[in-house]
């Protein structure tokens, strides 16, 4: 038994296919629980009022926006080194999800920032680096769309992902240097004292779990679609030959 056996598309489909509805249902349950719990059963913050509740959408989507890129980086490396097609397709499927998460994080942040900071947008390092991350997602998806040959597209986008990761990190530090921000620091670390209080913490954890499951669900779904699309194309090609 090794993890690489799931790189076989048939094996991958067989294993993840039956799991798919369960993951979807679990993610839906977690997100609904987290959001309902967070929205209706936690007290308002003493300074921020009810606006604090957008945290249950903002933090999980921001977390997934970054981790989706990280997952694409790992999948790209696996494709470049071991050339498993499932890996390249998973990276392809993760990109639109990550881009959507970035947009959700930016929009919820703007909605929160309007009453709290008094502005929809500030050129804060975190906000700016998220915008840059969104541009990276756009470029990555556009490159996938522009190349006809599948393997060439997978190779080129993988290398773009590697180079892009380096530059995304560079941009993160560059914008930090360029402007000191409004955005608060991390308040969910496991080892720090001044975290958010438990009342907000547990529903947030449930919501984060839901978003992680949602990401897994959408990536699996996208990968399945890609594999089926390729099989269909192969069948059509074979029919035309005969």
């Amino acid at each position: 038994m090794s993890i690489w056996q799931y790189a076989n598309p048939k094996k991958f489909m067989e294993t993840t296919g039956p799991l798919l509805p369960w993951i979807g249902a679990a993610s839906l349950t977690c997100i609904v629980t987290g959001l309902v719990w967070g929205f209706f059963f936690t007290p308002d913050d003493y300074r921020q009022g009810s606006t604090v509740k957008i945290i249950y959408l903002h933090v999980p989507s921001a977390l997934m926006a970054i981790n989706a890129w990280f997952m694409m980086l790992v999948a790209s490396l696996i494709w470049l080194i071991r050339r498993h097609h499932v890996s390249a397709l998973a990276a392809k499927a993760a990109a639109p999800v990550g881009a959507t998460m970035t947009v959700i994080a930016l929009i919820t942040g703007a909605i929160w920032g309007q009453p709290m900071w008094g502005t929809w947008w500030a050129w804060d390092p975190r906000l700016t680096s998220f915008l840059v991350l969104f541009l990276f997602y756009l470029g990555y998806m556009a490159l996938w769309g522009a190349i006809e040959n599948d393997d060439t597209a997978a190779d080129l986008t993988s290398i773009l992902c590697l180079v892009g990761s380096v530059f995304a990190v560079l941009s993160r530090y560059a914008v930090n240097f360029w402007n000191q921000g409004l955005h608060q620091g991390a308040s969910l670390s496991l080892d720090k004292e001044e975290n958010v209080s438990d009342v907000f913490y547990y529903p947030l954890l449930v919501s984060i779990g839901g978003f992680i499951l949602l990401f897994v669900f959408l990536v699996f779904l996208g990968t399945h679609t890609e594999i089926r699309a390729r099989r269909t194309r192969a069948l059509l090609a074979r029919e035309r030959m005969s």
Binding site: L156, I159, L160, V163, A174
Partner: protein
């Protein structure tokens, strides 16, 4: 490699090579800015370093697709790839040729355009230094983008979408050097960062560009 460099330079300078187009574009961008924001010299002198940097960056971007497109069309890129010189070296020479025909003229023209934007007295030196140190990074990063999109028809817009996010760190540090220089602050920290980006890109990106080119020529 020197022969290749001379060939690229000759091709760029002769008719149809687009030499000077980037420079003219730079000039037009800088001339348009006062029309857009108004002619007060106080405002212009504040934004001058940033405008000059963005103008230089866009002028650089404009000429990127020429790096490989013509060689790709007439097949000489295949010959270059099979030449005894490693592809990494060829890519580096291409980037150098692009810098000599686009980046260097921009650096030399920038002080003249700084006068148009009433750049403060002390800013000229650091503007030239930051552009001279930063534009090689723009050429090297752009060569990577051009190698990525070489096989795509009408890939110009895609090239911009891919390359512009990669330009963010260079632009931030380059414009920061120019701005601090113009306002008379110390410039060493961003200057060192800019140098780090340029030399890091110069050392590592040719490998990525060459790998991408090999995939495209497969």
């Amino acid at each position: 490699m020197i022969a290749l460099l001379l060939r690229d330079l000759r091709l760029a300078v002769r008719a149809g090579g687009g030499f000077g187009l980037g420079l003219a574009f730079f000039l037009i961008v800088v001339v348009l800015v006062p029309f857009g924001v108004g002619p007060e010299s106080g405002l212009l002198s504040v934004i001058a370093p940033g405008v000059l940097w963005i103008g230089a960056l866009l002028a650089c971007l404009l000429s990127l697709d020429r790096i490989f497109a013509l060689d790709w069309e007439d097949g000489s890129l295949d010959l270059l790839a099979t030449a005894p010189v490693p592809l990494e070296g060829i890519v580096t020479v291409k980037a150098l040729a692009h810098w000599l025909t686009t980046g260097l003229p921009l650096v030399l023209a920038a002080p003249a355009l700084g006068i148009l934007l009433s750049l403060p007295q002390g800013g000229y030196l650091w503007l030239v230094v930051s552009l001279a140190l930063g534009t090689p990074a723009l050429s090297v990063i752009g060569t990577f983008g051009a190698a990525l999109t070489v096989g795509i028809k009408r890939g110009g817009l895609l090239l911009s979408l891919l390359v512009l996010p990669l330009y963010v760190p260079t632009l931030i540090f380059g414009a920061e050097v120019a701005r601090r220089g113009a306002e008379g602050f110390e410039v060493m920290t961003p200057l060192l960062m800019l140098g780090g980006i340029t030399f890091g890109a110069l050392a590592l990106l040719p490998f990525a560009s060459a790998a991408v080119l090999r995939i495209n020529l497969r």
